[in-house]
Subunit: 209 residues, 2 copies
């Protein structure tokens, strides 16, 4: 399979396994994978601390405004948030120019909307599966009940939706924004990766026609 | 591949080829396919004429109200429309009880939401591809310009969205309502069917685990 310059972006509901699916897909394709690494790169670019960038990650202004209140400097709310987005967008463009890769989150599908070969994926799953995965695999010491886990999942999804809809003119999770959307609770992680591999193969074959 | 009782429902944007994709998928799986046939069955069930049922097909009340105005009997608007929906839903349940099949449109994903093995698909495509397909393959004598074709596509999509959102508590085209959503303008008809076949295989294998 020819695989020269296709960028695969993955957006995902919290707990759906979108990140690990992206990582496994990148491994099978033998291409780089970007997720937390992106924050580190962005931190270097802006001169902001990595911890601060993690706090602002995928939160639109009204959430950021709240999280920033402890800094006692509300006047910087808008510019700081936008600076982070612009810095991350620039890094996403730089990464995409280097060659094929998988990028998770950060509105990469929208940031790269004019890139010539971009394949946009959305991974979601039913709440039951996401709650199970969050409890089993994620380390959130403050969440000790199933109900709290559910609340956290819904809150993080809302943050992602708000962030995406704020910085793009698209709607988060609307099928027509993506080339393929998959419910990972049906095929689980490896089965979902298998279907994505099939899609990527067909996508690349089509380009060769 | 074991394929005992899975019902595949296909929702689709107008011009995306969702109907022909469903038909080809059914052929490859060797299972029945239901689309216009459903209207014929519904017509027999309700005693309404097939022509009338075609006019009301996938139009929610406010559109139906307009189309019914020539009948001069507005008082029947709500009950007639709902009668058609109820009759079609009953037929969808009867069909699903008989064994595996592919059903296109008619909110079948929602109607069968409690069915034990249902695989819900949404097919969409960019507007350019849908305009090309509509001009090339569909026979609408009154549409003689690209611009008119575009208007018709957007109007029919709006009707489908309104109909779906009216009769269900889901949102038409929202990824999380479906198990897989595909952009058919990327892989075209046969490539999309190939990816769906892969999904169905994984879906059935998972059940055997």
């Amino acid at each position: 399979m020819k695989f020269d310059d296709t960028i695969i972006t993955i957006s995902r509901e919290y707990g759906s396994g979108g990140r690990i699916i992206g990582q496994k897909l990148a491994e099978r394709l033998g291409i780089p994978f970007y997720d937390h690494e992106l924050i580190t790169l962005a931190a270097k670019e802006t001169g902001m601390s990595e911890e601060f960038l993690k706090n602002t990650e995928e939160r639109a202004n009204h959430s950021l405004r709240f999280s920033l209140s402890y800094l006692g400097n509300l006047s910087y709310t808008m510019p700081l948030n936008d600076q982070v987005f612009i810095a991350q967008s620039k890094i996403i463009h730089d990464i995409a120019d280097k060659g094929p890769c998988v990028i998770v989150g950060r509105c990469a599908d929208y940031v790269l909307k004019d890139h010539k070969h971009c394949l946009n994926v959305f991974v979601h799953a039913n709440l039951d599966y996401r709650m199970y995965r969050a409890i089993k695999h994620y380390d959130f010491p403050e969440q000790k009940t199933v109900e709290k886990t559910k609340e956290m999942i819904l809150k993080i999804d809302k943050q992602r939706e708000t962030y995406y809809n704020y910085y793009t003119d698209h709607v988060w999770g609307k099928a027509s924004n993506y080339h393929i959307c998959l419910d990972s609770s049906q095929l689980h992680i490896d089965g979902t990766v298998d279907v994505l591999m099939k899609f990527v193969e067909e996508f690349e074959n089509k380009r060769e026609d």
